[in-house]
């Protein structure tokens, strides 16, 4: 029903829908309260959808459903319906979703297989499980490592990579599998500034290459500039959905749910003091500076 359907998303553009949730809810077997409840949302291909919200808002649960882990591996009570790539998540055959969606977790090291001695072997692991010919494995692995800038480190032990390199390796594993959709669960939350910059740059490159990306982030600072759409979750349901610039135009309204980036806060503060900076929130420091220069040039 969902896969392949075309329709406008909350930002107004028309692209294929790859996942749809209707009044969807999840309550883990080990929890008494639902992690998601009454969630209604459509996710579109060829977009970078940024999902944010306070801790416990259901962000990670949502991406685990998307990746095909719930309810197959992480059990819980399901309400409503959810389809990912045309598969009902409750009755999807094993691997039908995981085969098409690459997942990158927040911890750069715990998501490694822990059974390989080189970055090359780590990237090859999934392709070996697919039963590909060795020559094709080598081609794909080197191509994926090249595209994340790790080709020179192919022979390094995965544990000896930095956090940023390790996250890029996890992305390379998904790229090597040629999965059309990449889901990243707060991939920079445990990285230092250098590692964060590496991963942000990598995801930006994927976006420019039209890879479909669903990205969960608590801190929006680095992501707004490359996001097509911002979805805010709170209490297990969607509370806001739209283009980042329009949603953050009134950052005070979202302050309880979102970590407002400093450049957006400064922009809002200057506007509140009567400085004309336009109606659209800046999506980076560069845009804030450009707004300030434009305002200055206009005599503001």
């Amino acid at each position: 029903m969902v896969s392949g359907a075309r329709g406008p998303d909350s930002t107004g553009s028309r692209t294929a829908v790859f996942a749809g949730f209707q009044e969807f809810g999840v309550t883990y077997d080990t929890a008494s309260t639902p992690s998601l409840t009454g969630l209604t949302l459509e996710l579109h291909s060829d977009k970078l959808t940024l999902i944010t919200g306070p801790s416990g808002s259901g962000k990670s649960t949502l991406v685990r459903v998307l990746a095909g882990f719930i309810p197959r591996l992480l059990h819980g009570k399901i309400e409503g319906s959810a389809e990912v790539l045309g598969n009902d998540v409750e009755s999807a055959p094993p691997n039908s979703i995981t085969d098409s969606i690459g997942m990158v977790f927040d911890n750069p090291f715990d998501q490694l297989t822990a059974a390989t001695k080189t970055a090359f072997d780590e990237t090859a692991y999934a392709l070996e499980n697919e039963g590909l010919h060795p020559a094709e494995i080598v081609d794909r692995v080197m191509g994926a490592l090249e595209s994340v800038g790790l080709a020179d480190l192919a022979g390094h032990h995965p544990r000896r990579l930095s956090g940023g390199q390790s996250q890029r390796l996890a992305i390379a594993c998904a790229l090597a599998q040629q999965k059309p959709i990449l889901v990243l669960d707060d991939p920079t939350s445990q990285l230092d500034p250098t590692g964060t910059a590496e991963v942000v740059s990598m995801v930006g490159k994927l976006r420019r290459e039209h890879t479909t990306v669903v990205l969960v982030a608590q801190d929006l600072t680095h992501w707004l500039a490359i996001a097509d759409r911002l979805v805010i979750l709170d209490g297990g349901r969607v509370t806001a959905d739209g283009s980042p610039a329009s949603l953050l135009a009134e950052p005070g309204l979202l302050a309880d749910q979102v970590m407002i980036p400093r450049y957006v806060a400064i922009w809002a503060e200057l506007r509140s003091r009567g400085i004309e900076l336009g109606d659209r929130a800046p999506l980076g420091t560069d845009q804030l500076l450009a707004s300030l220069q434009a305002s200055d040039g206009a005599g503001g």
Partner: protein, 263 residues
């Protein structure tokens, strides 16, 4: 960080590999593994140290001539603690009816005990040197690939490969937790009771973080097709050969078992 090989464990055996291109490196992994059985059984032939000692001498000389002295050193590191314990238990602690050859107060050394300790240590050394020779000269991934080619479950192969990485990973995790605790002013040095307190303070976060890590790793493995059905391949091409030799080596263990029992 490399795995510590000072004591014996399957995980450490898997971490023994040394890069090289000696004749032993080129032997098929399963041929080396098959050779462990008859060699070990042969070490038990006879009731004295003579047979295992001869095997050991031949093995050590062969390894040295083949420029595989590292295998001998690794084997020594593995066998030394066990040998020491055997000599203490059989030579000094365990009582014998025969006269001791030397006594110091309550401690006495008995020739019968020393002979038994020497024989047992030599037999164990044959096994250790056979396994170490095999595992030092085969990359774990090549070994796992060879096993999968012969129908061993890829899950078992994963367990073997992950075993090699488990200890260094746990050590890294523990060291990160200790660093974090020290940065918050926790004193990890000093008296024995204080060190015990450090150990307990380390265990809980180590266990919790390991459990969280296991869940994430399970999902990550699933994302990479761990439970996928069907044929698997390997980026490492291992020629599937030597079946007859491997079967012969395993078959050779049978008469050797009989010989060991009868002799």
């Amino acid at each position: 960080m490399e795995a510590d090989t000072t004591t014996w464990s399957p995980a450490r055996v898997a971490a023994l590999y040394d890069v090289g291109n000696t004749w032993l490196h080129r032997v098929h992994p399963l041929t080396k593994l098959a050779a462990v059985l008859p060699l070990t059984v042969a070490g038990f032939a006879g009731d004295s140290i003579r047979v295992p000692a001869v095997i050991l001498i031949v093995a050590v000389l062969t390894l040295l001539v083949s420029r595989l002295g590292s295998v001998v050193l690794k084997s020594l590191r593995l066998i030394a603690p066990m040998t020491f314990a055997l000599f203490v238990i059989h030579g000094v602690v365990r009582p014998y009816e025969s006269e001791p050859i030397a006594s110091w107060g309550p401690i006495s050394i008995n020739a019968e005990g020393l002979a038994l300790a020497g024989t047992t240590a030599a037999r164990l050394a044959v096994f250790v040197i056979a396994v170490t020779s095999a595992m030092t000269t085969v990359h774990p991934k090549v070994f796992a690939t060879a096993l999968i080619q012969r129908g061993v479950s890829h899950k078992l192969a994963y367990a073997y490969l992950a075993g090699a990485e488990l200890l260094p990973e746990m050590r890294l995790r523990a060291s990160q937790i200790l660093d974090a605790q020290q940065s918050r002013g926790f004193d990890t040095k000093g008296s024995l009771p204080r060190r015990f307190r450090t150990l307990f303070a380390l265990l809980k976060p180590l266990l919790v973080s390991s459990l969280i890590g296991v869940e994430m790793r399970t999902l990550a493995l699933e994302s990479r097709g761990f439970s996928r059905l069907g044929r698997r391949t390997s980026a490492v091409e291992v020629e599937d050969r030597g079946k007859l030799l491997q079967r012969s080596l395993l078959a050779a263990a049978i008469p050797l078992v009989v010989l060991a029992i009868l002799w």
